[in-house]
Symmetry: C2
Subunit: 503 residues, 2 copies
């Protein structure tokens, strides 16, 4: 039986507010869209958590055997300042301040974003489309919405008609807002406002001559509204109906609500069938925010260079720490919990290493109960992950497996009664879930090698000093020559000290 069938996935669907069995539109294929970063500033930790959460979804679906087309966009234009869509395009504003071409700002922060994603081992999506790369598609989309009667043009801008839409559909379903109340309670619009109702949102905004990012359109020069690109790009690459749409919880309203309305307004289909939302970060119980002074960056978390951090934590420690909570729970940062995560991560890495050095199973009389017991934690880890991608529980199951691995490593004869099929299945998936699903690797081996080498070399030079001191020149020379053969040159200093260089 395939893993897809053996461990059917259920997802908490934000749209229905229910946990549902996941059934993709096309057998064994999944289309998934995640709202990506706006690239006019450095990526923040909340983004990292969001993209890591859905990285797990991407990785787990693939691990089970699904073919996944994962689209995560780059918002490089159209994110307006202020809730009411007033004001300038943020990117263009920053560009002018920095005297840069907007696309140069975009490039800088896109590169930075990609570097942070790599640092935390978050996989690249299948397609990473940009808003500026789909202006034509956005214009065509708007034309269709206007044609369907759900948008209107005013003075070179186009707005989505929420009141009209709400007569035919349900605006507010995803975010759980009562739009009837909102529509009747909204202040009377001043004569200067272009919108018919304050709830209306821009699909296209007229650009002043000085606006740095603008394109010609049937309504004059302008730029697309921020909500539009995700409707357009998810439809283009995944279809008018697709499987999963995900993003941070802060995007539920108005962004995702607007997306659903745009999709319906254009294509008479609501887009995604399953909506997923990742929860927020807190620091020692308080919301993480720049204004609170508790918003450290990914870099600061690694270096420890922030007043709230006692020291730095490695990228894999942070990844492990984030996965210790379910994506739908808030995640609270504290030095204590990061240090606990570090211990847990290292414990898992030790077990991962030991899992490659285990004795041969099934050399004695097979015991069905013991075999079943041996594979139980991995069976449980799959069940945990298939239960709305619960990494927190899956990690607990992996720790159970780690204990079993430790016991067998210490006492190899315990492997004798375990069915090799169950044994191999468990070890293969223990390693697979850690590496391929959770995306954890042993950074001590890859990154810490130089520090360890330096420590070991200091000890070796101390040994050689001792040998010289006790006039054991044969040993002192042997050490020097052996090291040379291994690519390390020892240099004797005049003061009797030593230094080393690597060839």
């Amino acid at each position: 039986m395939s893993l897809i069938k053996e461990y059917p996935i259920s997802i908490f669907n934000s749209l229905t507010k229910e946990k549902e069995v996941f059934e993709p539109l096309i057998k064994d294929k999944v289309g998934m869209y995640v709202c990506g970063p706006t690239v006019y500033s450095d990526v923040h930790l909340g983004n990292v958590r969001t993209f890591m959460s859905f990285d797990i979804v991407f990785r787990y679906l693939k691990y089970l055997g699904y073919a996944v087309r994962y689209v995560r966009n780059i918002t490089d234009v159209g994110h307006l300042v202020g809730d009411a869509d007033e004001g300038e395009d943020k990117i263009a504003k920053k560009a002018r301040l920095e005297e840069l071409e907007p696309m140069e700002v975009v490039q800088k922060y896109t590169n930075g974003f990609h570097a942070v994603m790599r640092m935390f081992n978050i996989q690249e999506p299948s397609i990473e489309p940009t808003a500026t790369g789909h202006i034509i598609e956005q214009i065509e989309f708007i034309k269709t919405i206007i044609g369907n009667g759900y948008a209107y043009e005013t003075d070179g801008s186009v707005y989505f008609d929420v009141r009209k839409y709400h007569q035919d559909h349900e605006y507010g379903k995803l975010s759980g807002r009562n739009i009837d109340d909102m529509l009747s309670n909204t202040r009377t619009l001043s004569g200067q406002d272009q919108k018919r109702d304050p709830l209306d949102f821009a699909l296209w905004k007229r650009a002043d001559a000085g606006h740095l990012m603008q394109w010609p359109s049937p309504w004059g020069n302008g730029f697309p509204g921020w909500h539009l690109e995700c409707s357009v790009m998810s439809t283009k690459y995944l279809g008018t109906t697709f499987d999963i749409h995900a993003g941070g919880m802060d995007l539920k309203f108005p962004h995702h609500e607007a997306e659903i309305a745009q999709n319906q307004g254009c294509c008479s289909k609501g887009g995604a069938r399953y909506w997923m939302h990742a929860n927020m970060l807190t620091v020692e119980g308080r919301k993480m925010a720049k204004s609170e002074g508790n918003g450290f960056t990914p870099e600061q978390l690694l270096t420890g260079n922030h007043k709230l951090l006692e020291r730095g934590y490695s990228a894999m420690t942070v990844r492990f720490f984030m996965l210790m909570s379910h994506y739908a729970s808030t995640l609270d940062f504290s030095n204590e919990s990061l240090q606990a995560a570090e211990k847990g991560y290292k414990r898992l890495m030790v077990a991962l290493k030991l899992s490659e050095k285990l004795p041969e199973p099934g050399t004695g009389k097979m015991d069905k109960e013991q075999s079943k017991d041996f594979k139980a934690p991995i069976d449980k880890a799959f069940t945990d992950l298939s239960n709305d991608f619960n990494t927190a529980k899956a990690i607990a199951s992996l720790f159970d497996m780690a204990s079993k691995i430790n016991i067998i490593y210490q006492d190899p004869k315990k492997a004798a009664s375990i069915d090799p099929k169950d044994f191999d299945w468990s070890i293969m998936h223990f390693q697979g879930i850690i590496k391929d699903v959770l995306g954890l690797h042993d950074e001590t081996q890859e990154e810490g090698g130089m520090q360890v080498l330096d420590g070991v070399m200091k000890m070796v030079m101390e040994l050689r000093k001792q040998a010289k001191f006790s006039k054991d020149y044969a040993l002192s020379d042997q050490i020097r020559d052996d090291l040379k053969a291994k690519g390390v040159q020892i240099k004797d200093e005049k003061d009797g000290g030593m230094s080393y260089t690597i060839d």
Copy 2:
């Protein structure tokens, strides 16, 4: 005096076929465009050489003090099969064969391209625009060319009118072709051909319904011709006249020739003032080509997994090897020359390390001649680099400096008579040119640590075995405990052997 003034740059301009003093349009600012990769297959070594060549230009201009806007595009649509613009779009074809969305193919190979660029330490450009991200701009450009009388529409496609253009301008100047001969010698076009002349090239191609990549335009659904994007994107980000345009030599005709014609045809300006072309790769004297069976990939060069390669060569060895030739010369691969480059690279890295441990200069009586002599190689290296970016000669100068550094390191009193100002200037730029201009770093420290550590640990475990054998348990325990303090656990196996794990 600033480095910009002290070491004025001259460039061999492919357009005038002369070496010219480089004078940017705006003081101390440079706009530079390089034709980037077509992302429908893996990047090949020729691309790596081209992008590395202009990486040096980018880095050296910045090192001298220029503010550089470096634009390198991604061709993700519109590269047609065949010289005569016939046939399908290559990307769309590949996508259909693989049953993939074209942008999924694009994403895969863009990621691969970026990974190879990082591997060889080739810096990211300031802006990396895509062809699909500039369809509107391309349509506007075509409209202007048609308005100026240099293009015509036939059956949903638009062609550039080379004959008409050549009446007013000089088509063929860059590539040195006699277009009058070509125009009169070309075969009579069959009645079915849409072009007025075989030399005409597509600005816009009509798309059949099944064509996967297409956009609406004033001429119906279609996609841009391959030559167009570079004219459009260089104009958008650098202006109608800008400083440097570079690319591989194989792009001179028709691509760059067409670019100049398009720029003139649209904007009455020719685009770049300085054209640079990187030369080809050969393997043991023969052109590198898939059909010749001698076209190894960047990965194969690193792993040695190709019949022509005796073994693998590190990324920094390959980078150093490529820089040992001037960009305008052919570069010939052979195991001998790669191994020679490896020795040279290591020699330079040793000198780089020593340059951080040099004695204090100027402690004795200053000697003007000696001071001047000390800085001469670095002065020469700047002159070499400013002479059309001659990395080959600059590396020779750096070797001269390396010798001087070796001498002073062995005999510190030789530093006493050197003026500290000259000394510090030379060492600073010796390090700066190696690291920042040539982009070389010491990979033994970064990447080879684990292998070296493993070698050293084998030796240490051997020492401990000896100690145990001679019943010196104090020493054997000391080694074990010291290692533990350094983060290495030694485990004694039952057979008397040892293994180690890193915490």
